[in-house]
């Protein structure tokens, strides 16, 4: 069975600084993979290389068996960046419409799809307001809604729940679970450790290397601690 994502021996340098130092990762279909690590560990670089936005110095990044960058494959990936990346002079609906067309959504299902994703992130009532008037959390939700457009087979989410209140966070996780149940796969980076517990597997990225990569409860057993957070702290201490 071909994996959704397969990263092997990824190395990436920016000038003198080595950001990734031989990263190996794989994402299986119907799985939520959590990528955790301190800031500067290279989480965003892993994601950008996976999407083909950065080219690795060595190693390979494959999505559905195809080496990235691969433009055609991008239509099946829903990407949400760390920055909100929204057109603030446009309304929420106009942002969704724009990205829907960029993702080549058929015109006849466009309105229904926009309504669906707006419902998921609870923005239905605010869709016709300009984004410049949105709160930080609303922008984050709209950004997530854009990633959810077209029910992509693979969701790549960079810190999706920053600035989102707990109730909505729960709903977003429900939605992710529903997407996975429908056959999607998710690669997610997070700072929130209780979110890491919800992942099927967690990869701990430290100093450009994957220090630990397993299911949360297995990691906890390996490190003889109770939570992923403690795993994180212990692994960081060992470095």
């Amino acid at each position: 069975m071909v994996g959704v994502i397969k990263l092997s021996g990824l190395t990436k340098k920016f000038g003198q600084q080595t950001v990734l130092n031989g990263v190996n990762l794989d994402l299986q279909p119907g799985e939520i993979l959590g990528l955790i690590g301190p800031s500067g560990a290279g989480k965003s670089t892993v994601i950008k290389t996976t999407l083909g936005m950065e080219i690795a110095d060595s190693g390979s990044a494959q999505v559905y068996g195809a080496t990235m960058p691969n433009r055609a494959l991008l239509g099946q990936i829903g990407y949400m960046a760390q920055s909100d990346a929204l057109y603030t002079t446009l309304t929420g609906r106009e942002n969704l419409q724009f990205f829907a067309v960029m993702k080549s959504l058929p015109q006849d299902t466009l309105t229904a799809e926009i309504d669906r994703v707006a419902q998921v992130v609870d923005l239905t009532g605010d869709l016709d307001k300009r984004v410049s008037g949105y709160s930080g959390g609303m922008m984050r939700r709209l950004s997530l809604a854009i990633a959810l457009l077209h029910s992509p087979r693979l969701l790549v989410l960079d810190e999706p729940t920053v600035g989102i209140d707990p109730a909505l966070r729960l709903r977003i996780w429900d939605e992710l679970r529903r997407a996975v149940a429908a056959g999607s796969s998710v690669l997610i980076t997070t700072h929130v450790m209780d979110e890491a517990e919800k992942c099927d597997r967690v990869a701990l990225l430290l100093g450009g290397k994957v220090m630990a990569f397993d299911a949360p409860n297995k990691l906890e057993a390996d490190y003889q601690v109770d939570t992923v957070e403690e795993v994180f702290l212990k692994a960081e201490g060992e470095l």
């Binding site: 433009r71 991008l74 990936i77 960046a81 057109y87 002079t89 446009l90 724009f98 960029m102 080549s104």
Partner: protein, 377 residues
């Protein structure tokens, strides 16, 4: 294609919701063009005040009669010098023992050269007048002499003629010669502004489209929207096309506004086809978008984008033909060919002054297209 149109519509929507940018694109050029037309028309009628010390009245009146020159009589050299210092007069003409000393304030070189010219011409005409007066006097003396001789003859004979007839004849020969002026382009009111107007038009299109598109793209980079768009199946070329499309239309509208305001409000004559003028400017807009995209990749912030202006724009202003290029050193003339505005200016001049059609300006258009098709990563 659907994606390109959507991109164009999105870029247009963002522009339309930004009234300041719209004002910059449509109101600012008209305002600046109007200001320039006023400033450069006024500049062509410099007025010079000349102080005269001990100059004979005939020369002074002659000097005073020269257009845009007034001569003022000062009795002492000292008072004249004080007037020069305070800026009341621009030059002093002093006559002393049939020798002329002219002192110029020389703070404005045009005034100096104008005074020189005026003084020389009035000197010449004064000399001429004196000469003709002398000739008339001589003729008169001759006539009186003849009359005297005739009188002497008449004293011996009987008939007599008056010398007035001869004097009347001399007057008839000094009939004024009339000069009729004909203009190939424009009329007697054509000023420096008319000469630079075609270049300024292309320059404005370049400046504003470059600024607005470069900033827009920079914003897309810094906010991450460009990354996000690139994380969809969109081709880079589609994004560039979207920008070219919207800003091409913007340039088209801007050119129409500039042309209407210069032709109808400022009475500038366009000999050639207005459609060609618009075509050139749309191509200039394409070049400006390409330049904007390219430089936005090199800039990390809006301020860094502004730092490119002296490098990208200022040389283009000076080497585009605002200052006649044939007066420049040869190497500068060759150097100017690396700038797109040079080609746009050549094409604009050919259309507006000579009425040239596409068959004569196609080389310029091809070069502009080549500039526009450069596509950075």
């Amino acid at each position: 294609m659907r994606r390109v149109i959507k991109l164009m519509r999105r870029i247009a929507k963002e522009l339309l919701r930004d009234p300041r940018t719209l004002a910059l694109v449509f109101v600012a050029p008209v305002l600046v063009m109007w200001l320039m037309s006023v400033v450069f028309s006024v500049n062509s009628t410099t007025h010079v005040d000349v102080a005269t010390v001990g100059v004979q009245s005939s020369l002074r009146t002659q000097l005073n009669d020269v257009k845009h020159v007034s001569a003022h009589k000062y009795t002492t050299n000292r008072s004249a010098k004080a007037a020069l210092k305070s800026g009341k007069v621009d030059a002093i003409v002093k006559e002393h023992d049939s020798r002329f000393d002219v002192t110029y304030a020389n703070t404005d070189s045009t005034k100096t050269s104008m005074t020189k010219l005026a003084f020389q011409s009035s000197m010449t005409s004064t000399t001429l007048k004196e000469l003709s007066a002398k000739v008339t006097k001589l003729a008169m003396a001759n006539a009186t002499l003849q009359a005297k001789m005739q009188a002497q003859v008449a004293a011996q004979g009987a008939t007599s003629t008056t010398p007035t007839t001869t004097a009347g004849k001399t007057k008839q020969t000094t009939k004024a010669v009339k000069v009729h002026n004909h203009y190939v382009y424009g009329d007697s009111n054509t000023s420096y502004f008319d000469k630079i107007m075609p270049i300024m038009m292309a320059f404005f299109v370049f400046l504003f489209v470059f600024l607005v598109s470069g900033m827009a793209l920079l914003k897309e980079r810094s906010t991450g929207t460009l990354d996000r768009v690139l994380a969809t199946p969109v081709r880079r070329s589609e994004i560039v096309l979207g920008y070219l499309g919207t800003y091409g239309i913007l340039a088209l509208l801007q050119t129409v506004v500039i042309v209407i305001s210069t032709v109808w409000l400022l009475n500038v004559e366009v000999v050639g086809n207005l459609a060609n003028v618009i075509l050139v400017n749309v191509l200039v807009a394409f070049v400006a978008v390409t330049a904007g995209i390219f430089l936005s990749t090199l800039a990390a912030s809006e301020f860094q984008m502004m730092q490119f202006l002296p490098i990208v724009l200022v040389p283009q202003i000076f080497l585009s033909g605002l200052i006649p290029l044939d007066a420049l050193p040869k190497w500068l003339d060759y150097f100017s060919y690396i700038f797109p505005i040079r080609y746009a200016a050549d094409a604009q001049n050919a259309i507006i002054f000579n009425g040239d059609g596409l068959s004569k300006i196609w080389v310029d258009l091809v070069v502009l297209l080549a500039f526009a098709s450069y596509s950075p990563r």
